[in-house]
Amino acid sequence: MEFIRNHGRKGIAARRLVSVAAVAATVALLATGCASGSSSTSTGTDGAAAGDLSITFIPKQLNNPYTDVVLGGGKKGATEAGFGATQVVGPLEASASSQVSFINAETQAGTKVIVIAANDPDAVGPALTEARAGGAKIVAFDSDTNPKYRDVFISQVVAKDVALIQTKLISDQIGGSGEIAILSATANATNQNGWIKFMEEELASNPAYKDIKLVAKVYGDDDDTKSFQEAQGLLQAHPNLKGIISPTTVGIAATARYLSTSEYKGKVALTGLGLPNEMRPFVKDGTVTAFALWDPAQLGYVAAFAGKALVDGTITGKEGDKFTAGALGEKTVGADGLVVVGPPTTFTKDNIDEYDF
């Protein structure tokens, strides 16, 4: 009995030791995992504060492939517009309040133009108000702040243009007649539902599309696996389907992957909104002939010129103001300080290699 109890106690002690070791190992694992990501919070300083005209970009988060392209265009635009110093600062995590400390730092540094993609339209408000009181001009891009906190907002595209280019692409690809379906993101996604509404109106009202019949709308929830299965289901449920529109980057890529690995490749047309890097193999192998998206680089590019125009006093952000955005020509400020960059870009096998995002 005594022996057994002793044995038990020893066992507990040993077990405790091992469990401490296990916890330590887990923590170490965690720490090394985190360390690899959290090393940089500020990148890219093109030229010191030598030039008196400084511009700072604050994206939603750093290390995002889409953001990198936007910022690439922004830096190019800033140089062409004549800014002496361009900086990119920002959080690693796209949370509501994470941008505030970066805005405060820019205010203290006396930065002339702050270009921001807001993670939350209101959380950045007080900090931006302070920056403006200090003489900075605020340009929102990609994702707007509450209009009262910024001078202008640079928007990608007009919602209706996005819808129309997709109906036109599908009509061209299926020869203007036949059954089509839409594979969207979630059933309640604001963007996609707005576009789908415009598409339905266009299909119903435009005589050029009178032979096109929209037979189904399905939702892949912006999930690769689910979109994939929805694409399969569409083709099974509708044997006469001639084309699919997928107005979401996840959906179009998943559908393209399914089509390219099935007997439907080349027989069923696919278009929508996609990222060139993701769609390149499917364009090259003939699964997809053309799809669309705005060029994110132009967003940053126009934002830089808008900042310059604000500093120069060319524009104040009221409706009807005009400024020149370098190679992209003249831009007009719309209602609520809205500047639309331009029509979406169509990607085909001829131009897809010119884009890297």
Binding site: R15, V18, S19, A22, A25, T26, L29, L30, G33, C34, S36, G37, S38, N63, N64, P65, Y66, T67, D68, A216, V218, Y219, D224, T225, F228, Q229, E230, Q232, G233, L234, Q236, A237, P239, V250, A253, A254, A256, R257, T261, S262, E263, Y264, N277, E278, R280, P281
Partner: protein, 348 residues
């Protein structure tokens, strides 16, 4: 497909008397309800839409099920020991992203090496689960909930915004999940071989039988001299290996792998195992049943789409299946208990 009898140890001697016989044994199979459900589903759907069983339709069905099947088989191993592993989605995600990284950064790496590396990574992550569960003596539900987030966190910080696409991987790797042999996709054949091996291990190898004993009554198993901790650790490790395999196959099958790959998969996997007759309280069920359960759940998704049933019903139907599986299981165990009581009374 082999159908393995899964009478738990200790109950096998009651099959004497007039009631035994082939039909009786068949009716007692735990895989029977799920198999019948699957057959009924396929037949009804095919009548409604003949395209459902076209060569392309068959291929899609099997391909969709393959990855969940492998995961469900691993999960069954763990559940049979009265544990559960919720971190499989995160393990799959890490391995899938690792696979993408390997192909992108080591040009010309042999595909076999990628499979081995993926399964080793899975084994390592599974072993961490196993060690924590057996050493800390905390329910596996809590431990693996923790590692679910830890593994996902590591994946997030490792991947960041990076995604690897099908175009980054060699064509031969992608065609694993496109090419077919006699109408069966290659990766499905891989899965069938894996299921067969695990089924033989569970039924024919003593260490495999031990898992049932542990799940039926861990304390009794310990008294009986079964190395419980070692067996449970091994079950988690195997599950990790299978999740690793599934991760590599995921990268072959789907277009993009990134920080969120495999998120939320764990619940479908547990559901597949339970629907396939693996009792969540441990000690009974089979990997073949779990695999058929996975096939059933993925087939429902495709079937509902093929007959144009509103998508939003799908989850409710899966839920009803889980409930009926649990109720069938409960009725069966009550009946078994009553029979045992009667036979024991007679023996006295």
């Amino acid at each position: 497909m082999t159908i393995a009898p899964t009478v738990p140890p200790g109950q096998s001697e009651r099959t004497d008397g007039a009631r035994s016989g082939r039909l009786g044994a068949l009716l007692r199979l735990r895989e029977l309800p799920v198999t019948l459900a699957l057959i009924a589903l396929v037949v009804i759907t095919t009548i409604a839409n003949p395209l459902f069983l076209s060569p392309q339709g068959m291929k899609d069905l099997l391909l969709n099920a393959t990855i969940v099947m492998i995961l469900a088989v691993g999960q069954a191993l763990v559940i049979i020991t009265r544990n559960v592993d919720l971190s499989v989605g995160s393990i799959l995600g890490l391995v899938a992203f690792g696979t993408g990284t390997l192909f992108a950064n080591v040009p010309g790496i042999p595909i076999v090496v990628v499979f081995v590396v993926g399964m080793l990574l899975g084994a390592f992550l599974g072993a961490i689960n196993g060690i924590l569960v057996t050493v800390a003596k905390v329910p596996a539900l809590v431990i693996t909930l923790g590692t679910l987030y830890i593994y996902r966190g590591i994946n997030n910080s490792w991947a960041g915004g990076t995604q690897y696409f099908a175009g980054d991987r060699p064509e031969a790797f992608g065609s694993l999940s496109v090419d077919t042999v006699f109408g069966f996709p290659l990766i499905t054949l891989i899965a069938v071989v894996v299921i067969a091996i695990v089924a033989i291990y569970l039924n024919g190898v003593r260490a495999g039988r031990d898992l049932y004993a542990i799940g039926s009554d861990p304390d009794a198993a310990l008294l009986f001299g079964i190395p419980v901790s070692r067996r449970v650790l091994l079950a988690f490790l195997f599950n990790g290996v299978l999740a690793g395999l599934a991760g590599v196959l995921y990268a072959s099958r789907f277009n993009s792998v990134g920080a969120t790959t495999g998120t939320g998969l764990e619940l479908s996997v547990v559901a597949a195992a339970v629907v396939g007759g693996v009792a969540i309280s441990g000690g009974s069920g089979s990997v073949v049943g779990a695999a058929i359960g996975a096939l059933l759940l993925t087939t429902i998704t495709s079937a509902l789409t093929a007959v144009r049933v509103d998508k939003f019903w799908q989850q409710a139907i899966v839920g009803m299946l889980i409930l009926s599986a649990v109720i069938i299981d409960r009725i069966a165990s009550v009946r078994t208990a009553r029979k045992l009581r009667i036979s024991e009374a007679r023996d006295v």
